[in-house]
């Protein structure tokens, strides 16, 4: 169906990942009291970024197949 779904999902997650990672790196550590002292924004942002990039990669490969 036209576009490979992994592409938009990958972009959304990569973008959210970048946003969270950057925010996590710059934010005041005091706000992480809630999350038991863990900087969830930074770590989870990195996980989402990695996931997003993998999806983009798979999606691009899928798109190439779609065109053939």
């Amino acid at each position: 169906m036209g576009i490979d779904i992994r592409l938009p999902i990958g972009f959304v997650f990569a973008l959210v990942g970048i946003l969270l990672t950057a925010f996590g790196a710059a934010s005041n550590p005091a706000i992480y009291q809630r999350s038991l002292g863990v900087n969830v924004n930074l770590y989870w942002g990195l996980v989402l970024l990695a996931f997003g990039l993998i999806m983009v990669m798979l999606g691009r490969r899928g798109m190439r197949k779609l065109k053939d």
Binding site: G2, L19, V38, N41
Partner: protein, 600 residues
Amino acid sequence: MGLTYIDWIIMLLYFASVLGIGAVLKRYIKTSTDFFLAGRSIPAWICGLAFLSANLGAQEVIGMAASGAKYGIATSHFYWIGAIPAMIFVGLFMMPFYYGSKARSVPEYLRLRFDEKTRGLNAISFAVMTVFSSGISMYAMARLIQVLHVLDPIFDRLHLARSGIFHVSVIASAIIVLIYIFLGGLTSAIYNEVLQFFLIVAGFIPLVWLGLKNVGGWHGLTEKLPAAFTHSWMGMSSPQTNPLGVDWFGLVAGLGFVLSFGYWCTDFLVVQRAMAADSMTAARRTPLIAAFPKMFFPFLVILPGLIAIALPSATAHLTATKAGVTTVAVENYSQGLIPPKVDPNTGKPLLDREGKPIMDYDLAIPNMLLHYFPTGILGLGLTALLASFMSGMAGNVTAFNTVWTYDIYQSYIRPHESDEHYLWMGRVSTVFGIALSVLAAYATTRFNNIMDMLQLVFAFVNAPLFATFLLGMFWKRATGHGAFFGLLSGTIAAAVHHGLTLPAGETVGIKGGWLGPILHYYPSDMAQNFWTAIWAWTTCFVVTIVVSLLTQPREESKLVGLVYSLTEKRSEKHLPWYQRPVSLAVVIIVVLVLLNVFFG
């Protein structure tokens, strides 16, 4: 609730991509099949995740956590007994007829197999039901936005009255869903459901991880909670000894067989996702692929409820009062993160007849999010919730526009029109389907009892359905008259059973007993529901058989491809083992048994 710019950016990013997906897909929608069935071109894994997500509305997410807080891990029966076996069955045994018959909807299968009146009955009750379900979804979303005070700062800054928040939430969600379905049809809905699936997982894993870390892991949880809360089968031999108030037979027959097979195997909302698959094997694999993540969803949606009550009662984060005022009295009544329900006028907790506070379990997820998530990831958690509300709505709307256009409009109002005309009708019906949902959402705010009553009526209509499909697919002698009168009598049987019984401690009315004499008291309303379903199913099953035997059978040549014994079995020998539906089913069953043993 302490949202900052980063949370808003994440939420807006989600809304932009939802609309963007719709806009991109518009180009590919050329025929009515593209719009209603995604051109039957979607790979199995995407259909599978959409199959799972379409059912995973936010009421489900919030409700399962609420139920986890109220009943404990026994809630997992709704997944492990109540969904997985039915998903295996629909994939292995029923999909060949749904997909192979080339029916475009579940009601259309009923016309092919039985007759016009059976289809009409099913199509009309289903269409009404979807409109109200999406209306209820819309209402619940607007209420949650109000309770969480998401939009309050914006409204204050713009000097608008906060009473407008409900209206803005309803209208905004309606417009977004309208746009992306109007443009991209079922493909758009499916793509967004897959996105929602990943968002829910991404939003809830860190929540569960932090919660478990806090209470000392699963082991810590078992030490903090009563044993029945962490052992799903404990005390199931008698309804008096387990939190659900049902015995194992009622659970397995009522929930595991009648209700869940009735839902997963016959509800067009989910079956439509499999019908969009690109091949027969892909259609059969759809529910099986969905079953894998489904088995593990209890850990994402039920565990937060368990964690919420296991935590020490600190300050309650939220109560559903007007301004979120928490009084000392309220905090004293709280159980972990779960506050009691509060009388909005006095600010005092509501008590039941025995003087115990009535807990507001629906706040388990919202309070967990607020308790553990700092700004940033809080935006992600909130986006996950909003996404599940939207796709809950979208699932109903796409099922509605298909059944309306094919089974009602094309069958009874304007047959023999061009395909373009029906594609146009699909878009028009999306608009009025959503408009009706908005009306339903407002009806809910006005007449809460009417909604309860409607849901009860739907339960009566749905309970016998699976008997009809089972006989239709596996007994070639079943006839149209048999199916029609079986369905009617099953629905009546459900209503009569409900009217003659009552859960203990309830008053006569919406809960049952409205026919006069009360013949039986059930220990809980869940037990009553399960037994209502069992009665309805059995009545439909028996009446369908009796009436079928008394009426003229259909010619066998007309039933090829619609009935098991008359349909050629397809060989799957050429597929690698991991793509064969049967081997997937075996793996699922093994994992399912292990889960039940471990958490039993």
